[in-house]
Symmetry: C2
Subunit: 225 residues, 2 copies
């Protein structure tokens, strides 16, 4: 028979998973709004973000309450601290989606600069990283989490590529500058979302392996006997 | 006579204060390197960031250990959770200083685009926010913390002003674009540092007032009876 504490822990993980679902959804929505130049959709994002803010507060309150009531130690305690940190990261993803929605509002009033190819690819990759990072945390799968960390380099390369391409547009036509800047901001926010997914994956590895790989290079040396 | 737990808590706060000092220092150094086009100073930042990463791990380990051994509840527990979250924010500030140092390395190989006025102002303001946010957390001074949250709008206005100015440079001369982009990235990283200081201030208010003002507008309505 399952202990009450285990059920509480499972419920908490469930809530975090729901929060992560909302974070993926809000990013998805921001990119759809960008692609379809859909101002109504962009407007929804501001409301969605408020719901995500509320969920963050609920999960944090519940986590602290669980620690206070149950006094967990070792792995259980680390897991709840992990939930608090990841919860915080997910809330910030909502803020980045809001930034993208603001860019959409500005871009929708101006002619299309160029067909969007790399930005939606970058968004897809970031969302996959986000889903995988959460899965790896909940299933304590450090192999999957390491895959997320590796994908971050791919996102960074895409961001560089987008920047270079936008630069050529700006060089050729000064009237393109303000739109190009907005697209750069979108790309920069997607990069931050991928960074946050990487943080989550690092937390997952920390939980799974009970050691910190966060600050790679230097640390790894120490781990080799 | 002071209880052992109280001493441990005080030591933990002391470590966090030291970490915050390092965070302010690394931002200061990145802006000095930018102003003086000093590549050696920029190079130091990469080493400093590694030290900050190590401090983050130590503080987190110590915080979790304290919870496990002492089983704190109510305000003490919330305080330690606050330390863990702020610690995480401070580590990210180091990452933003590294991003600035990378921009310095690129900018130093090219002629000066313009005298730097607003970026150093923005940096000063961000560092003040950072110091004040930590003070407000350690002294549980929610008034000071609210001041930090208000300064964030000022940083955002400065960032807008910088962006507009750089746009005019880019429009006038395509050869200015790549340097202007680097300065935009510096400004964007300072904006993120100010955001992180705001997070810390919000945490301070949460601890001091035992309620969440994080997600302002909507929440405030609920607090009015």
């Amino acid at each position: 028979m399952e202990r009450i504490f285990e059920k509480e822990l499972r419920d908490l993980k469930g809530e975090l998973l729901e929060m992560a679902g909302c974070a993926v959804m809000i990013v998805q929505k921001s990119i759809s709004a960008l692609k379809e130049r859909d101002l109504d959709l962009a407007e929804e994002i501001f409301q969605d973000d408020k719901r995500i803010d509320q969920m963050e507060m609920d999960i944090e309150r519940r986590s602290i309450d669980l620690i206070a009531r149950r006094g967990p130690v070792a792995k259980d305690l680390r897991l709840i601290i992990g939930v608090i940190k990841i919860n915080n990261d997910l809330e910030r993803i909502g803020d980045h989606a809001v930034n993208i929605a603001q860019a959409v509002k500005i871009l929708s009033t101006q002619p299309l600069l160029k067909p969007l190819i790399d930005i939606p690819r970058m968004a897809e990759l970031s969302m996959k990283m986000l889903r995988d990072s959460l899965d790896s945390f909940l299933n304590e799968d450090s192999r999957q989490a390491k895959g997320v960390c590796e994908s971050d380099d791919e996102v960074d390369s895409l961001a560089d590529q987008i920047l270079r391409e936008l630069l050529t547009y700006m060089m050729e036509d000064p009237r393109a500058v303000s739109r190009a800047i907005q697209l750069m901001l979108v790309s920069r926010n997607l990069e931050r979302i991928a960074d946050l997914a990487t943080n989550i994956a690092e937390e997952a590895i920390y939980i799974a392996e009970a050691r910190v790989i966060k600050h790679h290079a230097e640390e790894r040396k120490d781990l080799i006997p």
